[in-house]
Symmetry: C2
Subunit: 526 residues, 2 copies
Amino acid sequence: MQTPTTPPARTVRNVLFIMCDQLRADHLGCYGSTGALTTPHIDRLAERGARFDRAYVTSAVCGPSRTSFYTGRYPVSHRVTWNRVPLPVDELCLGDYLAGAGRSLSLLGKTHFVPHRAGLEEHGYQLSDAARTRFLEGGFTPLERYDGHYEMAADSPYRQYLLNQGYGGDAPWTDHVIGSLDASGAPVSGWFMRHAALPARVREEDSETTYLTSRAIDFIRAQGDTPWALHLSYIKPHWPYKAPAPYHAMFGPDDAAVPVRHAREQTAGHPVHRAYQRHEESESFARDEVWRSVRPVYMGLVKQIDDQIGRLMAQLAQAGRLEDTLVVFTADHGDFLGDHWLGEKEYFFEPAVRVPLIVVDPAAAPGQVHQDFVECIDVVPTVLEALGIAVPEHRIEGLSLLPRLRAGQPLAREQVVGSLDYAYRAARLHLGRQPFECTGWMLRDTRYKFIRWEGYAPQLFDLLDDPQELQDRGTDPALEPVRRRMNESLVDWAMARHRRTSESAAQVVHRTDAHQRLMNIRIGTW
Amino acid sequence: MQTPTTPPARTVRNVLFIMCDQLRADHLGCYGSTGALTTPHIDRLAERGARFDRAYVTSAVCGPSRTSFYTGRYPVSHRVTWNRVPLPVDELCLGDYLAGAGRSLSLLGKTHFVPHRAGLEEHGYQLSDAARTRFLEGGFTPLERYDGHYEMAADSPYRQYLLNQGYGGDAPWTDHVIGSLDASGAPVSGWFMRHAALPARVREEDSETTYLTSRAIDFIRAQGDTPWALHLSYIKPHWPYKAPAPYHAMFGPDDAAVPVRHAREQTAGHPVHRAYQRHEESESFARDEVWRSVRPVYMGLVKQIDDQIGRLMAQLAQAGRLEDTLVVFTADHGDFLGDHWLGEKEYFFEPAVRVPLIVVDPAAAPGQVHQDFVECIDVVPTVLEALGIAVPEHRIEGLSLLPRLRAGQPLAREQVVGSLDYAYRAARLHLGRQPFECTGWMLRDTRYKFIRWEGYAPQLFDLLDDPQELQDRGTDPALEPVRRRMNESLVDWAMARHRRTSESAAQVVHRTDAHQRLMNIRIGTW
């Protein structure tokens, strides 16, 4: 672990918060990717800043993870337990905090955010135009929201762009962005993974990753010297697994890592794990032809992102913004791609819950590498502190990374916590459970990963002996003391969650034992 | 335990939800009060309806308990952990649910409710006039809000009433309602318990309990045959302990029960218990002259409430409303009055957390007595179901009592849970703790009461052997298995709280594995 020596005396004026969707940490060079896939531009980012080797999301699903990234709170607190669960109307996001300080947080790309319109109606809350946008968009000011993975609405700028570039038909995304032509020249859909290896019909310069990067470059250029904050949120390498040329063929089946999995997981796996193995994506990825087709395309999509990061950073340098811009590069979760006989994400194995997190703080020394446990909830307090905005500590559950980056102070955290609500998945039906009894919890420390399931025995992995998590020790009698200790830590953590969000600690202190001082009330005076 | 046989076929059209403040269950005849204090009118209420012998509040403090009564949710969920903590802007109260069904919930008396105005501003939410009242008043439509225990604002109707009745001066509440004249004719304040035994200067017919009852009678009379719902919320027998004649002298020191306490609690009590013993009210009530002065006045205040309940019920009968009105009679918590070397309430001993709960359901058989564990969160679903309004089960954590009352179905609950946030009390300062590490939890089942404290060893009471809770078994090695079991039950309960409040179970089921059906998305198809 390296720590900074003399950090440069610079002030952060801008924020570039880059998120990839479904990007595994181990597919980046700086996180140890091996073989054909290199990511020199992202590696360079890490060299200029700090790489966090133990960065975890609070839940390996877009909705809860992103809501944690945007609110600085755990899913148990923000209550968006799965995709498209509306955000309760009392929650505040990073963009709301920036708005409170007279700034705004622009958005290019995906958020997956769903406002709780019904909640607004139940209370009779009305909104001014300015407040309405923040309500509808999770605090963001969208330059262009683009959630990906479905055909775009008629007024979508990217759709208009594609039509203007000559991609014909009513469904340019379906036909060109994820569409291919087969050997006979017939159109085939990227929704089917058997077509993954075919190139997208869209040209590379018009594909999702490049298009969003271009918009970001336009935005940064247009700001000139005016301070800005931008969330550049790529949809890739998220499915549909479809890359434009030349990325579709940059890697072959033999370049792909073989899935990490063991037959024992199929026959004797945990009931919830086995239920997840019955999902279609898991059954598909269990077949060699599937991962051998899809993994190379996934690698190509990562390579494309790396190239675009290079292009973006070159623009940032050219605009003179390297010295006053805080850059955060991360992902909302990983992708199993067949590991543990699973497709997609969710669950608690490392390929899903561990993410890349690179922070380039111009006021910190370059080349930092940290083993501290960091969580996606740390982004909000880090950004707020970097911009000199007070962190509302009675709401924010994350920790600012600036003391670590600028002063070498280790983070006050010895474990990370994850959660999963599988109520919305077929796994619930396979297991015959009700919608409100499908919660799993993960506690991971330097050695063990403990998973507590509602209604089932726990799981335990010894990451020292078994870094690939192939040997579930959830019922190993020898490790009963470890499970008990881990469970107690998890429970202590859960029971200590801050429930009080409508008064700050300072307000509590002000009101402590203050009946007489504040209210002229005497209690118990003889 | 008695169960109904053939319930009368009646429909509930009106709701009379009566709450007393700080009323111990054991001071009512039907709950076993002995000696001089009888409560024939409240006893009659129980005879006409159902008495729940094991009714508990979720927290023995006004704020969190009332918020549970009004939201149907535990403090861990509604997040009003102590008095005057603003209610988060996403919470809904009973009056809001009634408003959603075109009804309203009128208020006479106390709620202790504080809206989260800052939360409204942070989000930019604006309110129409109708919604504003519900926001400001916790869903109620105030006929007259009267929180008691401080001098009233200039426009308070009760203040105007007192002035019109000839109670002079600028501070009629201070001077007359809680003021007395001493032996020399000099005015003395009811804030000092040494004056408790003196009669209030206010006449009984103008005192708080009687005044509020009169307003309730006016309201019910004015409704005629129009359906109504009223929360009649007495401030008494809450401090200041001051009764009007003749109630001030109806009982003497020898009529009062001797406080339940043991010297061991002072010397070897739990650290949090001992910190509470250092509060001024506890130190006062530890002195015999204090409880011997105050307890008789408290009894007088209870007696006055009983007489006023008699008057109110006579009016209800005269108006023909007995047959279509659901009556709920309860309290927000009890009062230690020196028990366990404590004054006031809070903590988890039975005199504070157990409350009277009488439900008169005209559609249920009379004379029911139940030992089911019921909680204050059960009132909201009971009222909603009685009025034919759908219970939003993804929000409401209580259970409707109607299946018990009307069909003899035992409640599906084997324990009650309480919580306490002592961050606002001097106890926190005595213990040197921070505002966010002051939570205690109680789990009580048919035999044991287990208390889990943040940062301290637990407490355990065997209520079979030790119903007075004088022998803390928190460190008794023989009961380690019991503590472990209770802790696990408590933790299981806590970990299973429903976090998802913005989607119903039906919505979850609708969206389960529905990517393709609802969004035309294929995940993992080869």
